[in-house]
Symmetry: C2
């Protein structure tokens, strides 16, 4: 097996990468500047050595603790619970949130073999019991699994009436078109309508 | 800039890779087995060191000469002219061709600044003059540039009536649908119709 085939076979294992895209990428890399290839190879090779989950919230960091957990400017009384580490970056970069985060590591999905015991609920409850949170925002995905997980969190916190529990709004995406919205999204945006 | 951002910025420079796909790929690589990342990094890093163009036909090879030029089982009297090195693999793996190849390195495109002097025509003419070809198949793309290049090759070979010059058939793709075919393709497939 030659160098082109080796690379193509490795690339084909990436998500969303078929036979043709792997070939296209491979031939693109043959034409690019070799310094780019070297930089890309180094970045891929070092990724998992440099990155690890923050021991407090579970998002990825290169430091001992992540930039959100160590930032005292952030509101220490609000906690946003997400499924995956990358969701932290999405919400942080939206600019609409300035509190702390907690990464569950997925959503409850009994058919997929993911139960509450596979997610970081013990760490979450420890943080909530020791912390001083006034609001907890459940930002799991608007899917069946995400909704199940949200209900489970509500159940976990039923003895803490002092904490306001909220869920991200579901509805039409900005810039979207009513004609292309699916029925469930339309129904949710109707039920969740707000007064102008 | 941390390891994730570094990798995302590098990935974004690949063709067909936007902000979201780069992030998705990056987080996928964080979750995969590190041995895969190391293998991928090595394959990317070594690619340009291992691969070079065959000095005879111009397709990519790791050996001194490519597997097609050195394969004496292949028909030495037929030459297939293609634009890019990856076209060689496409045609070879179709199983319908068993002759030799020649890679031009592109197609004539005056507006894009590619003239005949930028392509490997001198090498092609040397091969044709020294070789014993009975048929030359022009397999440039069915585009304006590919057609221009085909006409240019016909002009180059006008003093060699002993060589049959052919062009790959254009028409409807197998499994295609008349309703989705564009007018130019339909017109070509009509003009090139064959007797049943």
């Amino acid at each position: 097996m030659d160098a082109i085939e080796t690379l193509q076979n490795l690339l084909k294992r990436l998500p969303g990468m078929g036979e043709k895209s792997a070939a296209r990428l491979c031939y693109h890399l043959i034409r690019t500047d070799d310094s780019y290839n070297k930089a890309l190879a180094e970045a891929i090779s070092q990724l998992k050595e440099k990155i690890h989950p923050c021991p407090i919230c579970g998002c990825y960091t290169e430091e001992e603790k992540c930039r959100y957990c160590t930032d005292t400017e952030r509101d220490q009384t609000t906690l946003c619970i997400v499924e995956e580490p990358q969701d932290v970056l999405s919400i942080a970069s939206s600019g609409a949130y300035n509190g702390l985060f907690h990464v569950l590591g997925g959503a409850i999905n009994p058919l997929g073999g993911v139960g509450p015991e596979n997610l970081s609920f013990p760490l979450l409850m420890k943080r909530i019991n020791e912390g001083n949170f006034r609001e907890i925002i459940i930002a799991t995905n608007p899917t069946e699994e995400g909704d199940t997980t949200a209900l489970y969190i509500r159940h976990l916190l039923k003895d803490k009436p002092e904490i306001t529990l909220t869920r991200l709004a579901s509805g039409l995406p900005i810039g979207g078109d009513l004609g292309y919205a699916d029925k469930l999204t339309l129904a949710r945006s109707m039920r969740g309508r707000i007064r102008l």
